[in-house]
């Protein structure tokens, strides 16, 4: 009857405005949870039926209603209630867990009065699932690649089966302790990983990964699920979804964890040193005791010496290896990049470093140029440039820009790490071609930025020469460079012009570039005197031992030391440096917190186109308290 009436009135009146005689309220219908139906508007003691259907619409007109029609489709009677004295009735019942999640349910209350039956407006709702407060997991996990060799089998652990490996990052999933009551029968773990280099471990078994599965179900238990996450590479961002499933396989709740692996980070000079290494020549291999002794006196047990005879008399240990870190939220892993330079020291990284808690990697292959040596890869201290902060500093390397450069495999990889934003410097003018030949960084706790850039200054060198007595003999330079005295140094006009070209075409422009790339001002720079000579064809090398090619030996808990080449710009070749104006100048400009250690590197390094930094390498420790995964600047650089 109403339907017919609604049909007649539909053109000019909102049928809802006609009004329903009964009021019906329905609470949320959640699987496994109570739902309450409250009806009012009936007569006291009257029977009210609750009818359920699939949706609202033109429903059946049962004869018991005397021809009145329901407003729900596929109607069935849920229950009957008796209205109380106020004409109200309510019913609470648990929504069966077996109902489909999201199913549409329409409810209408009916008081049977035949043709005059009373109806409520249909309530249409859908069945939902109760969210669990208790299913939980961290939003993100930050690990480091399993790039070391804890089982000492000669290969990276990720390539093996690292049961018990200490490079897995813990991921604790806490299930809902009331999950069973809610119908949870299992948890489904789904790994979404494009890299194919993430493995998830449970109880010593690989349960997810490219070679196992991307999805696994684990029977429900209220006990925490202790997973281990293993990364095979840097800068992975994958996800692990954990779902609660009921017996029909429906998802009742889920959480997703971001799995993020660390970038590789090169070390910088403000990070404290823990160990230095050099190559010792003894016996038939030669004798570099003049180099070793002052360094060993200064560093003691913190200096390790590789046997030169074993490593082909290759003293350039700075060039063969580059130290770095893999830092995860649970662990710091030391790491060494092994150069493709592959000279006498080629096996050193495998022999002495790669192993337990020490990772190793090689980027590039084939013919190596001088630019592939690691004296050509350095890192600045933390800097801020045009509002962008680099908490781990910026990496830089030398190249003949546009022509010859380091192997793309390494430079591309370092660029992909993003956090140290590498940049190129023109070192085409140098015979060796390494950035460490003319610049470095030293800590300076009194400086606003915490460091100074050490830079080679040719004009300064000539100023000092001009102030010297021209008759001062230079015995070291006679035998090594054919220069007898200071006057001969000063009078060599071609040498002067050669150095002016270096200054004007290279050193000055590079300094301007550094200021731009690293946000430096003139106050951040200290200058060391230096003069270059043609070493091979027109290409330059240090004529006065390159003092900027220094080592920052800031060992933990000790007075920091700067190790650098003795310039021997004096008539005596002994250790009395008081009359050496190049020494006194450098000692006057270096930050006072450092102990200066002068090293005689003349025979075995300087004459072979290298200096103190070239002949050493330094293992450092990360900056305390600087976690890239919580540091906003770092996360910004990484795009996380």
């Amino acid at each position: 009857m109403r339907t017919l009436f609604f049909g007649l009135l539909s053109l000019w009146v909102n049928p809802l405005a006609w009004g329903y005689d009964l009021e019906l309220e329905v609470t949320d219908m959640i699987l496994g949870a109570p739902v309450t139906f409250s009806v009012s508007g009936a007569d006291a003691g009257e029977t009210v039926y609750l009818v359920r259907g699939s949706d609202d619409g033109a429903g059946p007109c049962p004869s018991v209603l005397g021809g009145a029609c329901l407003d729900i489709l596929d109607a069935t009677v849920l229950t009957s209630l008796t209205a109380d004295g106020s004409g109200s009735a309510s019913w609470t019942v648990t929504v069966p867990s077996t109902l489909p999640l999201g199913m549409t349910v329409a409810i209408q209350a009916v008081a049977n009065r035949g043709i005059d039956s009373l109806f409520s407006e249909p309530t249409v709702t859908s069945i939902g699932a109760l969210e669990s407060d208790a299913l939980s997991a961290p939003e993100s996990l930050f690990g480091q690649p399993n790039a070391d060799d804890d089982d000492l089998n000669g290969t990276r652990d990720f390539l093996g089966t690292p049961a018990g490996d200490n490079d897995l990052t813990s991921l604790l999933v806490t299930p809902d302790s009331d999950g069973a009551a809610r119908g949870v029968v299992s948890h489904r773990l789904t790994l979404d990983d494009d890299s194919g280099l993430v493995r998830i471990w449970l109880d010593g078994d690989e349960i997810l990964g490219a070679s196992s599965a991307t999805e696994v179900e684990v029977d429900y238990s209220p006990a925490p699920i202790a997973l281990g996450v293993e990364f095979g590479q840097w800068r992975i961002h994958s996800t692990l979804e954990i779902e609660e499933l009921d017996s029909s396989g429906r998802t009742l709740d889920s959480v997703t964890v971001d799995l993020i692996s660390s970038p590789l980070m090169l070390t910088h000079h403000l990070q404290e040193a823990t160990y230095l290494v050099t190559v010792e020549l003894t016996g038939w291999a030669g004798d570099n005791s003049e180099f070793i002794e002052p360094i060993e006196d200064a560093l003691g047990d913190a200096l390790g010496k590789a046997d030169g005879a074993t490593y082909g008399f290759d003293v350039w240990i700075q060039d063969e290896i580059e130290f770095a870190f893999n830092i995860g939220q649970e662990r710091v892993q030391d790491f060494v990049i092994d150069s493709i330079r592959d000279r006498g020291l080629d096996p050193f990284a495998e022999d002495a470093l790669f192993g337990e808690d020490f990772g190793m990697g090689v980027w590039g292959s084939g013919w190596a140029s001088t630019w592939d040596s690691f004296g050509n890869f350095e890192t600045s201290p933390p800097v801020t440039v045009d509002g962008v902060t680099y908490p781990f500093g910026r990496a830089y390397y030398g190249a003949e820009v546009g022509y010859y450069r380091p192997d793309d495999a390494l430079t591309d990889f370092l660029a992909e790490q993003a956090i140290q934003a590498p940049f190129e410097i023109d070192t085409s003018w140098l015979a060796v071609g390494h950035v460490d030949e003319f610049m470095s960084f030293v800590p300076d706790s009194t400086s606003p930025k915490g460091f100074k850039l050490v830079y080679t200054d040719i004009d300064l060198a000539y100023e000092i020469l001009d102030d010297m007595d021209g008759s001062t003999s230079l015995p070291r330079y006679r035998s090594g460079h054919g220069i007898d005295d200071v006057e001969e140094f000063r009078d060599d006009l071609a040498l002067y012009r050669y150095n002016q070209d270096i200054k004007d075409f290279y050193l000055d422009p590079i300094l301007e570039q550094l200021k731009g790339e690293l946000g430096l001002t003139d106050d951040d720079i200290i200058y060391f005197p230096g003069i270059f000579e043609e070493a091979y064809g027109p290409w330059a090398a240090a004529l006065i031992p390159g003092m900027a090619n220094l080592v920052v030996a800031n060992l933990v808990g000790e007075t920091p030391k700067i190790l650098l080449a003795d310039p021997f710009m004096r008539s005596s070749a002994d250790d009395d440096r008081s009359d050496d104006p190049f020494v006194t100048h450098v000692e006057s400009v270096l930050p006072a917190e450092h102990e200066v250690v002068w090293v005689d590197d003349w025979e075995d390094y300087h004459l072979l186109l290298g200096e103190v930094h070239c002949g050493t390498n330094t293992i450092r420790q990360p900056t305390p308290g600087l976690d890239w995964w919580t540091d906003e600047d770092s996360l910004s650089l990484l795009g996380e």
């Binding site: 001088t370 060796v432 006009l493 004007d504």
Partner: protein, 258 residues
Amino acid sequence: MRTLMLTGFFIANTSWASEATDRAESALATLDAATLTHLESVQPRATRAGWLRIVDDTVVSESGAPWLIHQLATHADAHPSVRVAWADAMVRAVRSDADAFGWGDAWVELAATDGDSKVRAMLLAGLRHGDASFAIPALKQGLTHEDPATRAAAADGLAWHPQGLMAAEALRQSLADQDVEVRRMAATAVGYLGDTEAFNDLVTLLDDVDPLVRATAIRSLERVAPERARALPQMQDLAQDTHTQIQRAASHLLNSGS
């Protein structure tokens, strides 16, 4: 007399080479056995750049010079990098004496006739330390060698020689060499030597196909005649050149007069 000898050698070098070798052998025969054994035992060492160098005080000395000459003259089949190390050591051994301890003629001849371009280049460039009487003619001759690397090394040697201007005309001719590196070294040389007569030839190089030659020409123009160079009409444009080194050289020239 020495010049005549050198000229004769260029015409028929085999006889001269054996004369140099004979002289070196004779000198070696005067050394004691221990010294000779030591010279024979010294191995070149790898520089940081990878090429070899001898740093032994006995080898790189007056007594070592004849041994090095002998090695270069009689061991053409030794490894090329070792021979370059011998040449480098020889230059360093004799350069503290302008007369090269009497080995100037051998030095010059090896520089002209050695079969290895890098050895010739090392010896020629090293003639910057030699007495002008033998060094300048040899370097001038080197400027006409068929090998461009040798010619470039000769220009380099002249650039650094205190009497390099004695070869000024030859250097100016080299400014038109067909090889880029030779032109660049020659341009450097005339600048270092302050050869004012090279001005017009350097101006011609401002249109060279190679940017480093152009930059070097600007630099040398500043050295030989800065005021005339600053007045060149193209210099303002060169200060805005897209190539960084040309821009720097021109800017430096223009600013140095202010």
